[in-house]
């Protein structure tokens, strides 16, 4: 099992300066992620969730506030923090094996240990037999699994996932969500998932961080106290999902597009606290 770390984000502020104007992207983000925890972050576009991830992994800098991993300030990229992007970003000129091995290029292990780790992680993501394939021969889902193996092979303390399944079809997405959960249970490392798919967030996360845009802030943190593996069709699942969705209801009301009064929410009575407010529609 990899060593998992505590991630502490304290009063994080981030702004961009474009053509002389400052654009606030993140405002006063405070969040603690416990070792081995799975945290989902949801929000619509423009809420800065990707920027937050990039700050944590070290691809962006220049922020106000504190970003600490196990008490140490985060400076630049590190093999302790892995990331899986929305695009698989595999090197097209390398095989699956070689791509996964890239994660260990600068690790201090013997060649034999590296080979072993690569083999184990290819197995972990269920791609045995595809070691010598090139990315162009793989499907989108398979490529993304290789990307996950590459990010995990050096046993980081925290794995960040930036809308990893957004580019895949619904069936593959559902399958990979299950896989990701299985991997999380097997490896026990901290995982932070950014997604715009509320169901995915509730399915995988132990808590769901809801963000709102302009500027990016944490609106609410919704704990998900359901046991694993979760039933997507279950009543309590549905309730929590609606709870999260309701955070976006108010936003839709403020939006320019108003829909005619919707029929009563199917899950529960019209005055249930989890029903969508009448007249509100939203879309991601």
């Amino acid at each position: 099992m990899a060593h998992a770390a505590t991630l502490a984000i304290q009063h994080l502020h981030k702004q961009y300066t474009v053509r002389g104007e400052t654009l606030p992207v993140l405002e006063d983000i405070t969040l603690t992620v416990q070792p081995g925890e799975f945290v989902s972050i949801v929000g619509s576009s423009g809420c800065g969730k990707s920027t937050l991830l990039r700050l944590i992994v070290g691809l962006e800098a220049d922020y106000r506030g504190e970003l600490l991993l196990d008490g140490q300030r985060i400076v630049g990229t590190s093999l302790d923090r892995g990331i899986v992007f929305q695009e698989h970003r595999l090197f097209p000129w390398l095989t699956v094996e070689q791509n996964v091995a890239l994660g260990l290029l600068n690790a201090e292990l013997s060649e034999a240990d590296k080979r072993q780790a690569v083999r184990e992680h290819i197995e972990l993501v269920g791609l045995q037999g595809f070691e010598t394939a090139h990315p162009h021969q793989l499907s989108g889902g398979m490529s993304q699994r290789v990307a996950i193996a590459r990010a995990l092979v050096n046993r980081p303390e925290v794995l960040l996932l930036d809308e990893p399944f957004g580019a895949l079809d619904a069936l593959t997405r559902a399958h990979l969500q299950q896989e990701l959960h299985r991997i999380w249970k097997a490896e026990g490392i901290t995982m932070i998932l950014v997604t715009h798919d509320v169901e995915e967030a509730v399915y995988l996360g132990e808590k769901v961080v809801v963000m709102e845009p302009r500027p990016g802030r944490i609106r609410r943190i919704v704990p998900v106290d359901l046991p694993y593996p979760r039933e997507r069709g279950g009543a309590s699942f549905g309730r929590i999902k609606d709870d999260v969705l309701s955070e976006f209801g108010g936003e839709a009301r403020a939006a320019a597009v108003l829909a005619p009064a919707a029929p009563p929410a199917p899950s529960g009575h019209a005055d249930s606290p989890y029903a969508l407010p009448a007249g509100a529609r939203f879309s991601f």
Partner: protein, 289 residues
């Protein structure tokens, strides 16, 4: 540019332009006072090298490091340029060259467009013609020169034909690929909307193919200009190429260099002209797709 930026400062983003990740907890300090913008800086940076080379050149000629016949001083080249403009030597030769290249290019362009369109629209025609065309295009202009010299002598016809051939090949290939390469998804939309043959051609095929075709046109002009220079170097009694040979034979390097400069200048101007047309007339159509 992204490769360069990220290689130069691994850890900073271009937008912030602040130094690397010693995690800053305060916003970056803005410089006060005027700094030259990027465009001005770029323009300024372009000069040191050519000016340095010019200085070395002048020094070499002035100090006699190299014989004046091998490397004339920059002033005499400049003088030769002015002279040939003044005594009317440059202009008529330039005119002749330009007319030749335009005539040849026009012929090659017309032929190339016809051939390319025919091959693109009719796979049968392409089956018959393309292999011969390909074989024909394997032989460069220079390979055809002696043959054509035997057939048509060394006057204007030779030059125009060779220039036309040089332009024809890239225009044909690009036109053919442009038309044959119209994405099938657009064709399918047109078929679903029951376009007539003419509508398909005018509203789908040609607009989509115009970008690659124009590319071919530009290549065609470049090759035409190239062929012009070669042909005039080898078989002409007037024109820019002739000036170069003439100067060379009289060991008047200044005339040679002046002519070379003019060749470069007009080659560039012609290409720039086409590029300008591309931006003005064609970009908006490209973006529509």
């Amino acid at each position: 540019m992204s490769t360069q930026a990220l290689l130069a400062e691994p850890g900073s983003r271009e937008l912030d332009a602040a130094p690397a990740p010693a995690a800053r907890s305060t916003p970056p300090v803005r410089h006060t006072g005027w700094r030259p913008g990027p465009r001005l800086t770029n323009w300024l940076l372009a000069w040191p090298l050519p000016l340095a080379l010019l200085a070395i050149w002048w020094l070499a000629a002035d100090q006699g490091w190299v014989a004046a016949q091998v490397l004339p001083p920059p002033e005499t080249v400049w003088g030769a340029l002015r002279d040939s403009i003044a005594n009317g030597e440059l202009w008529p030769n330039l005119q002749i060259s330009l007319l030749r290249v335009l005539a040849g290019f026009a012929a090659g362009l017309a032929g190339g467009l016809l051939l390319g369109v025919a091959m693109g629209l009719s796979p049968t025609f392409k089956d018959y013609v393309y292999p011969l065309f390909k074989a024909f295009s394997q032989v460069p202009v220079l390979g055809w020169l002696p043959l054509l010299m035997l057939l048509v002598g060394i006057d204007e016809a030779l030059k125009v034909i060779l220039i036309a051939k040089a332009a024809l090949v890239p225009v044909t290939i690009n036109t053919y690929q442009g038309i044959a390469g119209v994405p099938s998804r657009y064709i399918e939309v047109a078929r679903a909307l029951k376009f007539t043959r003419w509508q398909m051609l005018s509203k789908v095929v040609f607009p989509a193919a115009i970008a690659p075709i124009w590319n071919g046109v530009r290549y065609g002009l470049t090759h035409a200009w190239l062929a012009l220079v070669v042909v005039e170097l080898l078989a002409s009694s007037e024109g820019l190429g002739f000036l170069i040979v003439y100067g060379r034979q009289l060991f008047q390097l200044d005339v040679v260099m002046a002519a070379v400069v003019v060749v470069g200048l007009f080659g560039w101007l012609l290409d720039k002209g086409l590029a300008l047309i591309e931006t003005r007339l064609l970009r908006w159509r490209k973006e529509a797709f």
